[in-house]
């Protein structure tokens, strides 16, 4: 009885909006007390995160992403991509998708992409003749696009929580990430104003492209260097994080001089570390609670219950998709990873789902959750950023939501896409 009351109290505090690290701490403290274990064990679990070798990748990649978002890097990269791809049908929109994916991969889908890039992309698309509905939907969807590409923060966090090799997850995300990009690019081409209104044709101008390349090559080089560095086996993820942060810091502060060392850099550090601190605190607190659940064999009990309704791997995957879509629109991706992943992994394992494939399904699902009405966070950020009623954002997001669910189905039911590199 007292356990039920405590459980109800904890859930009530959670939905009231109490910081999740407080909720997780309380859950761990209560669970350990009820099971007769010293509460100092919660602090011990809390401290355990400090021994994770890839821990430093989280602040370093996030710092690099925030530095770029605060600089004039979005303008330079947009110009480069526009001069390079703008002549294609739907080219301008595809450019926007690519640049947004790049920024989201570096800033971890924390809303920074919509805030930093939305204001730049929105007028460009409208000027190019795209409908307002499409533009709003595209900018909103782009806020979480790129989550499956390295060095995305959710991938790193997933690797830490699930104890899966982060290098492998980075590799595994490439094809599923491309599928999402291809599906949305197809929609961009379909909606392109040239196809609709027969607007004047844009042409590729080499001189403009080279000029844009001269301006942005230092930044354009970065994703290539990270990919080649990690996949080529030249650097580890931690080394890539350190070099990326140092490289971005040097180019933005001392070469482009977009940011002042004394004024802007401290602000960027505070902005990025406020997010990182929040995430790491949840991670520290959740470790104790989720380990308790695993020790108590809760996932096994859930699995036994699920076995009564779900008889094979595919019915489990369908259930997982629906469950994670609901989780994704109620919780942000970081909380969802920390809370749900430790429970799901043993169950998925029993149903024969590969841990790397599971990671891709999980992250793709939550990527869509950001866009799912009524409470997908990207909808609120875009509503705030573009000063539009939330219902207008719902309508704009629906076509993108349907397309992303199609991409999710491909990622879920074609495991070879995620496991291609490990065959």
């Amino acid at each position: 009885m007292s356990g039920a009351i405590a459980g109800f109290g904890i859930v009530f505090l959670a939905i009231l909006g109490t910081p999740l690290f407080i909720v997780m701490s309380l859950a761990a403290l209560v669970a350990f007390t009820f099971s007769g274990v010293e509460v100092s064990a919660v602090a011990q679990e809390f401290y355990r995160i400090s021994s994770a070798p890839t821990l430093m990748t989280i602040p370093l990649f996030t710092f690099a992403g925030y530095l770029m978002a605060e600089s004039k890097s979005p303008q330079r990269l947009l110009k480069l991509a526009e001069t390079g791809l703008g002549w294609l049908p739907g080219g301008v929109s595809i450019v926007a998708l690519v640049v947004c994916a790049f920024f989201t991969a570096f800033t971890g889908a924390s809303g920074v992409t919509i805030i930093a890039l939305g204001g730049l992309i929105y007028p460009i698309l409208i000027k190019d003749g795209y409908s307002e509905k499409y533009t709003l939907g595209m900018v909103t969807a782009s806020g979480s696009l790129g989550l499956l590409f390295p060095p995305s923060l959710p991938i790193i966090l997933y690797g830490l929580v699930a104890k899966v090799d982060i290098d492998k997850l980075f590799k595994a995300g490439l094809l599923p990430g491309l599928i999402i990009m291809i599906v949305l690019s197809g929609w961009a081409i379909y909606n392109s104003p040239k196809a609709i209104a027969g607007a004047p044709k844009k042409v590729f101008i080499l001189k403009d492209f080279l000029q844009a390349l001269r301006e942005a090559w230092l930044e354009a080089l970065l994703p290539v260097a990270v990919l080649v560095g990690i996949y080529g086996g030249f650097v580890t993820v931690t080394e890539a994080a350190a070099f990326t942060a140092l490289y971005v810091f040097i180019i933005e502060v001392f070469i482009y001089k977009d940011l002042s060392f004394s004024k802007d850099v401290p602000n960027v550090i505070i902005e990025s570390m406020s997010l990182v601190g929040g995430i790491l605190l949840i991670l520290c607190c959740a470790l104790g609670f989720t380990n308790f659940l695993v020790d108590e064999e809760i996932p096994l009990k859930i699995f036994a219950l699920m076995k009564e309704f779900l008889h094979d791997k595919y019915s489990f995957l369908l259930f997982l998709n629906i469950f994670l879509l609901i989780v994704g629109c109620l919780m942000d991706i970081f909380s969802a990873i920390v809370v749900v992943v430790p429970l799901i992994i043993p169950i998925a394992n029993d149903f024969g789902v590969d841990p790397i494939h599971l990671a891709m399904i999980f992250l793709a699902n939550l990527e869509i959750g950001y866009l799912t009405p009524p409470v997908g966070i990207n909808l609120f950020i875009a509503s705030f950023r573009f000063k539009r009623p939330i219902t207008e954002l719902y309508k704009s997001a629906v076509p993108f939501l349907i397309l992303l669910i199609i991409a999710l189905a491909i990622i879920t039911y074609v495991p070879d896409l995620s496991l291609f590199w490990f065959k």
Binding site: L13, A14, I15, L16, G17, T18, P19, L20, F21, I22, S25, L26, L29, E38, V39, S40, A41, V42, A43, F46, Y47, I49, S50, S51, A52, P53, L55, M56, I58, P59, L60, F63, T238, E239, A241, A242, A245, L246, F249, V265, P266, I269, I270, M273, S274, L275, V276, G277, G278, I279, L280, L281, I282, C284, L330, M331, D332, F334, S335, V375
Partner: protein, 166 residues
């Protein structure tokens, strides 16, 4: 009273900001240095554990900032609903309940942290620079105390905001 709390809150924010800036720059330079020296077949063994502990302590500092700005990650279903309805009075009450609950839970966690530190002090091992793990574990109660302190300031200052609105 409010003015004094405001001043202390300001000082805590400043201190946290300076510590975070120093920590991030140290993380950046030390982790890069560690890689470069490895290319020359050298190894500075203390850098890795030092940087990991720096990240660990920065999590608390980031938590202090997030507490001041009210940007902690939470589920917040009721809060969002109340806000959408424009029930500001109820929103204020919810904020106060959250602050009190957070302070109480952090108090419990600090107690757990002190107990863990006491045990670790007895069975500690040297981590780096001759520092024993007992002292490093102390980061848990110290860091949580900083976050708790910020929650206390936020709670007290919420009464001032109410007075200003009135």
């Amino acid at each position: 009273m409010i003015a004094a709390v405001k001043k202390m809150d300001f000082l805590l924010e400043k201190l946290t900001t300076y510590l975070l800036v120093v920590s991030i720059l140290a993380m950046l330079s030390l982790s890069s240095l560690s890689i470069v020296v490895r290319w020359f077949q050298h190894n500075i063994t203390w850098i890795d554990p030092f940087v990991r502990h720096l990240v660990f302590f920065s999590a608390f500092l980031g938590g202090v900032i997030a507490t001041g700005r009210g940007t902690h990650i939470g589920i917040d279903i009721i809060g969002k609903f109340v806000e959408s309805k424009g029930w500001h009075h109820l929103r204020n009450i919810i904020s106060k309940i959250i602050a009190i609950a957070s302070i109480a839970v952090l108090g419990w966690m600090i107690k757990a942290g002190i107990e863990f530190t006491r045990v670790e002090m007895e069975f500690s091992k040297i981590e780096f620079w001759g520092i024993s793990s007992g002292y490093l574990v102390m980061m848990v109660p110290v860091g949580l105390s900083l976050v708790a302190l910020r929650f206390i300031f936020v709670f007290i200052l919420s009464f001032e905001e109410k007075a200003e609105v009135a």
